[in-house]
């Protein structure tokens, strides 16, 4: 013991006590306390504390086809002004193909079109015109759509009262949501599943022929009612005012119509709405939400105050949700849920209990076995093993890692694998002990000889585990984190702590031979 370097003793004692001190919050506390020390504990993953993980895909394709729709509308208007007949228009991938009746004057059409849309390609080949957009244009549409969507998703989730949500962009066109503690993911999905595009259109009640033929003339569109597919309305395509001009919306109650949503326009919205209503007294206007008519009341008088009320056989929840959606604003494109994992609080609690049981029992089994086989040396290995667990827990807490169910599996596995380094060392000491009888020399040689094997063996495991982290998703990352940390800390405890403890043990018991 005399020759044992002091710096080694100090490092080991410091690291192990730090491990124990910083593991205590993770072991004892589960609630936030505001104390910096006690809050350095493990975060539990959604699979342990319950909650929802959602992956949403922004349907940017819809935006692209909307853009092409705008193109063809513009082209129709321009050619009407220039008295050129269009035979047909078709869209294929990133290209709009327009067949004109003539090849004359098409250049003029191109010039006026390009005044409206700059970064668009417009080629003419005899009687046919091709309008196409490049990838850059497409990407800029997509990018702005995703940024906007993120914003609106965040607003909607905040309005729903979810605590500590994680909302972030994932990949090219996805949004990742982690909602801890959400008990009813269906309501959240309902809130996210609606685009919530609100528009006010004038109803054309005179042209009943188009409606019966189900064929909308240019500048008009046919929209169905929210309550019955049979009821249809012929509306002006251009909306008079839209949801983007809303500044507030809240659930209210109308004595005759039941649950309703009251809203207020900003100045521009109020002006537009006032103009539309004063010009069209006696006619109907339709409130269109996501492509269906919610209600289509008759305008009795001009509404100039800029506020109004939407009714439509809502339940109280529906009215509240619609108000939330209108306040948060419309999504630029629909969102599709492409992955969902929701865990209820019951299963989470069960998983924690099972994980604890498996860790403790696994630990006891391994410890008993080690003492049975290696006696006092086994006891020393067990101290290292326990110190190792403390260090893993404290490191996980310190780096703010999230403990998942696979993460617990990683810890239990570490318990089994962590003693390996100890075993390698003991077996080497045993061998050396047969050859030379000097006890300290056998121990020293045992550690030296085992070192390269321990490194080789653990680095290979570490490689596999780190690649799991890089390519793994979600809970698998949790597994690879605990396993990687476990491999590293087990090397430290075996080479430093076990080493120190063995020297201590031999010195203090003044043993002359090793009973391994």
């Amino acid at each position: 013991m005399k020759n044992y370097p002091l710096w080694k003793i100090i490092i080991v004692i410091l690291l192990v006590s730090a491990g124990v001190i910083f593991a205590i919050p993770s072991i004892l506390y589960t609630e936030d306390s505001g104390n910096w020390y006690l809050d350095k504990r493990l975060n539990l993953g959604l699979d342990l504390q319950g909650g929802s993980y959602l992956l949403l895909e922004v349907q940017t394709d819809v935006l692209i086809s909307e853009e092409f729709e705008n193109f063809s509308d513009t082209i129709r208007i321009i050619s009407r002004e220039n008295r050129i007949k269009i035979n047909n228009i078709e869209q294929k991938d990133n290209e709009l193909k327009i067949r004109f009746d003539t090849s004359e004057n098409l250049n003029e059409i191109r010039n006026s079109f390009l005044q409206n849309y700059r970064s668009v390609k417009f080629n003419i080949n005899n009687k046919v015109a091709f309008i196409s957009i490049d990838e850059l244009y497409k990407k800029s549409i997509q990018d702005s759509a995703i940024k906007q969507s993120l914003e609106i998703v965040r607003k909607r989730i905040d309005e729903s009262g979810t605590k500590e949500p994680l909302i972030q962009r994932s990949g090219k066109n996805r949004i990742l949501l982690q909602l801890p503690g959400v008990k009813n993911p269906e309501r959240i999905k309902d809130l996210l599943g609606k685009t919530a595009k609100l528009n006010f259109h004038m109803v054309d009640d005179e042209d009943s022929k188009s409606l019966s033929l189900n064929l909308a003339p240019f500048g008009k569109m046919i929209v169905t009612d929210i309550n019955s597919e049979e009821t249809k309305y012929l509306l002006e395509k251009k909306s008079r005012v839209g949801g983007e001009n809303l500044i507030d919306a809240f659930a209210s109650f109308d004595p005759t119509e039941g649950h309703a949503v009251s809203f207020r326009f900003d100045t521009t919205g109020a002006q537009k709405f006032g103009k539309a209503t004063s010009e069209n007294i006696g006619k109907r206007f339709a409130v269109v939400l996501d492509g269906v008519v919610i209600t289509a009341p008759v305008i009795n008088s001009a509404i100039t105050g800029g506020s109004g009320i939407i009714t439509g056989n809502f339940t109280s929840q529906e009215a509240t949700d619609l108000a939330v959606l209108l306040r948060a604003g419309a999504l630029p494109a629909p969102l599709e849920i492409v992955e969902e994992r929701s865990v209820g609080p019951g299963l989470g609690a069960d998983s924690i209990a099972a994980g604890k049981a498996a860790s403790i029992i696994g630990m006891i089994l391994v410890c008993v076995f080690m003492v049975l086989i290696y006696g006092s040396f086994g006891f020393i290995a067990n101290i290292s093993l326990i110190a190792n667990l403390f260090i893993i827990l404290s490191l996980l807490g310190a780096i703010g890692a999230t403990l998942t169910l696979p993460g617990i599996a990683g810890i239990v596995l570490t318990i089994g694998i962590a003693v390996d380094a100890n075993v390698l060392i003991f077996e080497r000491i045993k061998e050396e002990n047969v050859k030379n009888k000097k006890i300290f020399e056998s121990i020293k040689k045992g550690f030296d000889r085992a070192l390269s094997t321990i490194l080789d063996a653990n680095i290979t495991t570490l490689i596999a585990s780190l690649l799991l982290f890089v390519f793994g998703s979600g809970p698998i990352k949790g597994f690879s984190i605990t396993l990687s940390l476990g491999v590293i800390t087990s090397m430290f405890t075996a080479l430093m702590l076990t080493n120190l403890l063995i020297y201590f043990y031999i010195s203090f018991t003044s043993k002359k031979e090793i009973n391994l």
Binding site: L347, V423, T453, A457, V470
Partner: protein
Amino acid sequence: MFGLNKIIPIDSDYKFLNYRKNFYIISIIAISLSLLLLLFKGLNLGIDFKGGTLIEVTTKNTNIGELRNLLSPNFNELSLQEFGDENTIIIRLQNENNQKSIETVNKVKKIISENVSEFRRSEFVGPTVSSELLWKGFQAVSFALLAILIYIWLRFEWQFGFGAVVALSHDVLLTLGVLSILNIEFSLSTIAAILTIAGYSINDTVVIFDRVRENLRKYKKLELLDLFNMSINNTLSRTIMTSITTLLALFSLYIFGGEVIKPFAFTMIIGVLVGTYSSIYIAVPTLLVFKFRPQDED
């Protein structure tokens, strides 16, 4: 202290490799069976890789048959399975032509809400995500194997790398074969298990190879077969000890760790058993193919 450490004598001298041909035959048969199973029966892909909806419920006063009768008229591809005890049931649904998750889950919840006391979890994986997960899992396994091979190649001679990879592929194939024959669900956590098995198998092989390399330097005259046998015996007690402690931890995980983690623990147990066997009977004998010394050439 207890003397149990003498169970495996330090000077054991088992002639492991003298029977190697028998074990070659066993392994070749096992691998061929695994390949046939993987080709013709395939793996029981879970929703992570196949897509679909999974709902776990705790029922009240309803058995699995009654639940099935309630649901089956409404869904085409439906399977129900007890999960741990008869009150916990897992409902699996396949994606029906892009039906949205929210509709499927809501529909199921509506139909059986009277019979269920708790909805424990619901998972939905869409078709694009499931194929991405499959591709990522494939990448993870391939890159890990490649990285391990490169590491072994750098640290040892290339012959050792070859032996390690043969043993590794053997372990992964056999484990997949067992998963196929027992129809155990292949999920994301199975990928984690496979990679951990790869790590464990290599770990085990490396320890023996380390000793082979050491002995090759120490005993220049010894016949290769004897030298390999000696190396295996040198490391035998470590091989057994580590397998046992790992298996103890894994059994504890399998029995007490809950239903969700069971397939993972089971896969790992198979892997550890196969990995220990292959380090001795596959990895080391593969080295016999190579001539390590000039005098071995005839």
